[in-house]
């Protein structure tokens, strides 16, 4: 198993021992470097996801998607990004200027903060606290504030309606999202993301194998709630193009809009990434208990395992998005409070029983 901490410890000793820098300077350099890498990865993954969305949705609709810009349309999204970057940023006259300006950044902070938690490989997690899952859900909730502020400060009734819907929906679905994560924590006994991944290393040790029925229920509920949390899919009420033009980011232009767009796709990736980490073993290869096969599977770097699982889940979420029509606001709340939340609570009890009586594999 390739351990990424080899590289990080080497770099740390390079700064401290070879270059003889003090604590302050070496930590500063490392932090800046990690920040740059995170933001670059954030942007690149957003481009990949947007291209993937356009192609996958085209295929679901019996179309080909972008084909003209570059081979097989590969340069379409970079061209769109370039267009977005050179667009003029203008402000609404009667907007609440301060809130209007910080709203996209709040959305982005929540999204990048949650993104930094994803464990890419053994030893390649940027943030790895002992209360990791707890902090992850806390940080990702900052995005709701950004959405709400954007809608409120735009001084536009569509944006306001959209912000209200967004807040209602995102706060509601956070319930079942967290309950599903808690049931995973019950089984693994730790909130630290690296600990959760390590706990899934046995033969068929991924949580959906290990925790069988309650874990599968938790994964399904997590994906549904995550889809709603990321404002996507049949739950894209806050954007609802046909009713609200573009929802809370109607009044934004250029990169202000770009940040919302970026955050939306990265939230999708984060939901899929967290689901892959918690329920599908993250970077942990699939161990089947036969030593030779396990050794071979270990040679595939954890990075590929993580990305493979995450993009598989992203594909499933896209499949769901391009299959179902949009729900109404009352249907969305009914689904959460009358179906998903009770199911998640029952599932938590079931998982606790399974974990306490040792009924898992």
């Amino acid at each position: 198993m390739f351990d990424f901490s080899l590289i990080t410890t080497w770099f740390d000793s390079l700064l401290r021992d070879t270059l003889g820098l003090g604590d302050f300077l070496s930590i500063l350099i490392e932090c800046v470097l990690v920040g740059v890498i995170i933001l670059a990865a954030y942007a690149i993954i957003a481009i990949v996801l947007i291209f993937m969305e356009r192609k996958v949705c085209a295929y679901f609709q019996c179309r080909l998607g972008p084909m003209r810009v570059g081979f097989w349309g590969l340069l379409q999204v970079p061209a769109d990004v370039l267009k977005m970057l050179i667009k003029e940023i203008f402000f609404v006259d009667k907007a609440d200027k301060l809130l209007y300006m910080i709203a996209p950044f709040l959305v982005l902070i929540g999204s990048v903060g949650a993104f930094a938690f994803l464990p890419w490989n053994k030893g390649a997690a940027v943030l790895d606290f002992n209360v990791g899952i707890f902090l992850l859900t806390a940080i990702s909730s900052i995005g709701v504030v950004g959405v709400f502020l954007a809608g409120w400060s735009s001084n536009n009734k569509y944006s306001l309606v959209s912000a209200m819907r967004g807040a209602v929906q995102m706060i509601s679905y956070e319930m079942s999202l967290c309950l599903c994560l808690i049931s995973a924590v019950v089984l693994t006994g730790t909130m630290q993301l690296s600990g959760i991944v390590e706990a899934q290393g046995d033969a068929f040790g991924w949580l959906i194998f290990k925790g069988h029925i309650p874990a599968i229920i938790a994964l399904v509920v997590f994906l549904i709630a995550g889809n709603a949390e990321a404002n996507r899919g049949p739950f894209d009420l806050p954007e609802a193009e046909s009713e609200l033009t573009a929802g809370y980011h109607t009044e934004y232009s250029g990169m202000g809009f770009g940040y919302f767009y970026l955050a939306e796709y990265l939230n999708l990736f984060i939901i899929a990434g967290v689901a892959a980490t918690v329920f599908l073993g993250g970077w942990m290869p699939l161990h089947i208990g036969v030593a030779q096969v396990d050794t071979v599977l270990d040679y595939i770097p954890g990075f590929f395992w993580f990305c493979g699982k995450t993009f598989l889940l992203v594909w499933i979420l896209l499949w769901i998005k391009w299959t179902y029509p949009r729900l109404r606001i009352d249907q969305i709340l009914k689904l959460e409070w009358k179906y998903l939340m009770p199911l998640a609570l029952l599932n938590l009890v079931l998982m606790t029983v399974v974990a306490a009586l040792g009924l898992h594999f």
């Binding site: 019996c62 179309r63 080909l64 299959t323």
Partner: protein, 174 residues
Amino acid sequence: MENNQSYFGGIKDAVKSLLTGLGVTWREYFTPKVTEQYPENRKTVLHVASRHRGRLIMPQDAEGNNKCIACTLCEKACPNGTITIKSEMVEVDGKKKRRLVDYQYDLGECMFCQLCVNVCPQDAIKFVNEFENSTFSRDSLVLHLDKEKFEPVLPGLTDGGAEMEIGKFNTGTK
């Protein structure tokens, strides 16, 4: 409709119909795509239905004769005044007969209703699916059908386009 189902019955029906929906899109994902990549495929695998009305032509036989008898039924049938027929009276074997001098068809005015073709007693005119009609001036849209010999620009187009096979620029059959 809303309340005649039990809580769990509703869940069962919902799951069933949701899975049906997913099945439909799953099949659609793998069916060959119908997109035509037009300018690239225009000489290779373009499909245009042969009954598509692109423009009017007057078919000629090998000697260049057409079947038009200059009865002007098409001219009278045309709602837009697209067709203007000039004819002269000639004496053949002691009988007076009308002969076509000029059959002018303004493609720019035509609304492709096919009334002229339906009314023609001799089947002298017909629509073909040649659709690349754009020009830089309206004058060049005024055609003299009896003077021109129609040659389709795109190979095999008038028979409905390319072979029914998957080609390079389209992935589906029609």
